[in-house]
Amino acid sequence: MKRRDCLALLGASSLLLAGCASTGPAPSLVGTGDLGVVVARSTGTLAIVNTSQRKLLAEVKGLGDLSHASVVFSRDGRHAFVFGRDGALTKVDLLMQRIAGRVMQAGNSIGGAISADGRLVVAQNYTPGGIKAFNAETLELVADVPAEYEPGKLSRVVGLVDLPGQRFAYSLFDANAIWITDLSDPARPVTTKLPNIGRQPYDALVTPNGRHYIAGLFGEDGLAMVDLWEEKPQVRRILAGYGRGQEPLPVYKMPHLRGWAVAGRRAYLPAIGRHEVLVVDTDTWQEVGRIPVAGQPVFVMARPDGRQVWVNFSVPDYHRVQVIDTTTQKIVRTLEPGKAVLHMEFTPRGESVWISSRDDHRVSVIDTQSFATQATMTVDSPSGIFFTSRAARVGF
């Protein structure tokens, strides 16, 4: 038995301790709080990483088409649920470092969410358009909610987030709608439908308190916001007309809103077709500023303490990453960590950020205070980076 397997087994079951101990050094149990995964999208591989040691632990292969793959975690941080483009939902055991379950649940999938109690994993799909809920333990299908907005017409679903009360909010790209599905009884899903939210919602986020759901609109300037604490949730438009009649720049890649960038009472949002980050006051929902940046923003992410907001960009400006100081709203640093930066992920308390540079096949670990590079590692075409601390955050 390889030592790695041995250590992984040790983490999983004390029954196996005796068998392993005879072949290696003293057993060491491992927790999951500093584990994470990096998607190697070209090869259908998930790299398991340790953020304390800043190194790759293992590679798990056979996950299929991982373009635009996203990941959520079980409450104990042991399992990663990976939503693949090809419609596969794969459950990966981070301790055993292997696939623990896999279902082909759709023809074309874009991401997913997990319920607050960890029992339901929900996938959002383009084909067939809709959401599907699975038992997180067994991956058995427990609910299927097609996004049928007109008889026989299914919408592509974007912007799925978990909400308190076994509810899930999502947006219908083709139907200009936000739906909220209550899966308290998965056998009888109850869906609240909010129509006419604005044209072509492309992604969405929920604020850290689970109160406000905000969908970005591709088809017009502005965002659609729902106050989920209202008895009868309604959609209101925020940041309407932020382009102010100027001709938008080409959008080579859709921005991502998932993973809120809320710092203090301000939210930081990518403008569509503008090289700007929009700043909105989360009490009044009025624009309070806009920050010129180096390209079309893709991810606008607050460091967990909210002191900084990190921004990456679409092609052709995706060799840069910029850092906004949220006390001054100024860019304090422009970094060039590598070619084709696709994603960033903060360590649980934000002392470091991990950045994937697809075309350099590199993941960089950067100190968020000094901006020094603390480590680099080689991963084949890395895209999404996801740490188990997401398990404890609403909307991640």
């Binding site: 635009h68 090809d86 074309n108 859709m254 084949d380």
Partner: protein
């Protein structure tokens, strides 16, 4: 250009297809991309276009770009969509990064079944 730009290319429906069609006609007179550029284009299509169309080009927010899916699409309109974008949809114009000849070559490859990435390019 004397006339003001349309208020939004996302909403503009009149001018761009015409420009794109003209551009496409001009493209056929240009040299096709060389071997090195072809490798770049293959990677760009798989990776950057793949953000919306999928690494395997089986579709996502954008439609599938497999040979089967494109069987009844005219080559010229494919090339002009790549070069000039498709107003009213998220399909952006790529003319800032592609020549007309590049766009035409990509359209030809897509319709024939897009090549796998070069080994060295990963």
């Amino acid at each position: 250009m004397l006339s003001p730009p349309p208020p939004s290319w996302r909403r503009a429906t009149g001018l761009l297809p015409l420009l794109a069609a003209l551009a496409c006609t001009a493209a056929s007179a240009q040299q096709p991309p060389g071997a090195e550029r072809q490798r770049e284009l293959i990677r760009m299509v798989r990776q950057d276009c793949g953000s919306c169309h999928g690494l395997q080009l089986t579709g996502g927010l954008g439609p599938a770009l497999t040979r089967e899916a494109l069987a009844d699409k005219p080559l010229e309109s494919m090339a002009s969509t790549i070069y000039g974008g498709r107003p009213g949809t998220p399909m952006a114009p790529w003319k800032a990064m592609l020549s007309e000849a590049d766009a035409l070559w990509i359209a030809q490859q897509l319709m024939a079944g897009f090549p796998e990435p070069h080994k060295d390019a990963r």
